[in-house]
Subunit: 397 residues, 2 copies
């Protein structure tokens, strides 16, 4: 399980996808990637940055060419993904024009997309610069979106990528379990988050998203929801305790939500409204998972879970049912969500085998707190496989 | 020296700059910033991410408005930089149109630039989405580039930002000195880099750029140059040893190069070609620093250093003399460089007070290795101030 060969594996996968999509050439055009860069770059180039204007070219006939600043020639070679490295000194215009003239593509797919952040790595300025470079050539008129290529490439996880996610899910379960054993009423959300941080540090792991809200911790009915991080709210008996947490293993993420209920004095089981909330969320996840198969759209799956939650007597959750998971907790591409403006066309995309999704419906039980579970699942030709043990009973403390 | 108030300080500074530049309104428009996002976001919003389509608006009359997904309302407020937070649930179109109609700006500066990566955070897709949103309004025709606003805002460091860089430079000097005491001929470049890594970990610091080439280490004449990181090349007596290294303190970077010469048996001082190379680089830095003042262009300063190196009998260095330094080692905006295509208009920009630059000429001494020094300097109204002790004599071991 080394990362070194992943960019080559993905570059070769991209060649197959270009043939499947009928696209001659895919061009990733970047500069000064320490400022954010193109989100597909880690997939096809690894963690190494590119400083000067640089072009990564993959063709349907299998050519893999990197045009980079001369000082980054060795680093480009070290990615293992490119068999031709073309250095430039003062500007990329000449070598890029020469390379495209030699390859003479009918379509050049570039990283532009209104729908998908992962396929939209070309900035406005770099797009204009590319048009300037191509203006005197036949190629300025041959630009198309690489949206479909990128969605397929990043969505269809290789076995090595799935193993990394599975490892991250496993560590997450360990961290939850060891932390749960130490949580006591009277602790604040921040102290509880600290227990998970200790466990994460002990294992030398990174967080799946910024530590300020990783984990999110919600203790009881008055905890503020959202991405704002744990507060000084004190966990009390009679509270639901909710976690949203993930770690990174070799650059790949988990994203898991778990629920614990702290019995009030005299209680031996969760109160009926709490149990009903938990059961509703669990049922929504199980029904959605059962319906997932290649070809179904994300909106259909979202609708199944959403109607179970509303059918249980709760307002609909104001977020998508789930997103793809990989190098990022929100890994781009098609999602399980309603057709809301902010999701663009992502809920309309058909699911594909080898994609990894989260399933994360939520609801609120007045007087007790938020109920949210989140499971990570791999879609296969035959349905879904849970990446780790799902939570099917409410933990009582 | 807390980071919490920086986004507010910078947002208020932006108000002044909008007035100076005669621009009504500055709009930063982002989504899913965990995928890279807009490089100006940390400056005006801090380290918190934004998940759903979000708009940060700063006006010349001092309004500071964040339109964000509802689950990120509290996080937006916690930045301290925005006095109006407008949540949205399913899409940003309606609240963004309403807000712009209320403010009715004559110009809307957006983050698009062919020249400067730091001012080019708007992706192609988000630019098109913005045009779609504004199509039925008078505002689609009022978009201008925020390039000048961003260059001024990020370039003109506040005293708090300068103090962070100064602290990073100070730690870098400590790490160099403690590592130099332990380096022996017979060690590999990788082992030498490990000494600096140990010192960095011991201080709990982050690296200024990816650890694979932080530090860069070049031992002797056969070490490969560039951004590819330390190799198994063995340091020997009679070798020049060159470092390029930086750390981060509270998100701000240092970027320093240092030189050591390992005396060959019988030598009591550096050989004449080595000393001449060192003196030439030192002279180039000192002459460039002496000429730096507000209003001079980066190309002029670069030319001074470049002609000293070529006048010393060496080929010109195939990189710029220096770049701005801040949250990134390469911090965007105007640079000290030649008018090469890859630098766009950045070398033509006049220097401004409160900017921080590196000065890093280099040359190669056949038989001994690369000579490169790099100093970090603050430009004031009166000239430059070195942020830390510059290296003025070749260290002999």
């Amino acid at each position: 399980m080394t990362t070194s060969s992943l960019p080559l594996q993905k570059a070769l996968q991209a060649v197959d996808i270009l043939n499947e999509k009928g696209i001659d050439l895919w061009l990733t055009f970047v500069r000064e990637t320490s400022h954010g860069g193109d989100p597909i770059l880690p997939v096809i180039y690894g963690s190494t940055g590119l400083t000067w204007p640089s072009a990564l070219i993959i063709t349907c006939s299998g050519q893999r060419i990197a045009i980079v600043g001369r000082l980054e020639t060795a680093a480009a070679r070290a990615t293992g993904a490119y068999d031709e490295i073309i250095p430039h000194d003062t500007g990329i215009t000449a070598p890029l024009r020469e390379t495209l003239a030699r390859l003479d593509p009918q379509q050049i797919a570039v990283n532009i997309s209104k729908n998908d952040v992962l396929a939209d790595g070309l900035s406005w300025g770099m797009y204009q610069t590319l048009l300037d470079i191509l203006a005197p050539t036949p190629y300025a008129g041959r630009l198309v979106s690489a949206e479909g290529v990128i969605a397929a490439l990043n969505g269809r996880k290789t076995p090595g990528e799935v193993e990394r996610i599975r490892a991250a899910v496993k560590f997450t379960a360990q961290i939850f379990n060891e932390s749960f054993a130490k949580i006591r009423p009277g602790m604040s959300e921040k102290q509880i988050a600290g227990l998970l941080h200790d466990q994460t540090h002990r294992r030398g792991l990174d967080y799946a998203w910024p530590v300020e809200s990783c984990p999110a911790v919600n203790a009881g009915p008055d905890s503020p929801m959202g991405h704002s991080g744990p507060t000084d709210t004190i966990l009390q008996r009679g509270h639901l305790l909710h976690f949203d947490f993930g770690v990174k293993v070799e650059e790949f993420c988990s994203d898991i939500q778990r629920m614990v209920y702290f019995l009030a004095p005299g209680e031996t089981q969760a109160p009926a409204p709490v149990q009903h909330g938990f059961d509703t969320v669990l049922h929504a996840i199980q029904a959605a998972a059962a319906a997932m198969k290649p070809g179904v759209t994300g909106a259909e799956i979202d609708g199944i879970a959403r109607s179970i939650v509303t059918g249980g007597g709760y307002p609909e959750f104001m977020h998508g049912l789930g997103h793809q998971l990989g190098r990022h907790a929100h890994d781009g591409g098609g999602m399980l969500g309603p057709r809301w403006e902010k999701y663009a066309d992502l809920p309309d995309r058909p699911l594909e085998a080898s994609q990894v999704y989260t399933l994360e419906p939520s609801l609120y039980v007045p007087g007790y707190g938020v109920v949210g579970l989140e499971e990570d699942v791999l879609l296969t030709e035959h349905g879904v496989e849970y990446l780790g043990e799902p939570q099917t009973t409410l933990i009582l403390k």
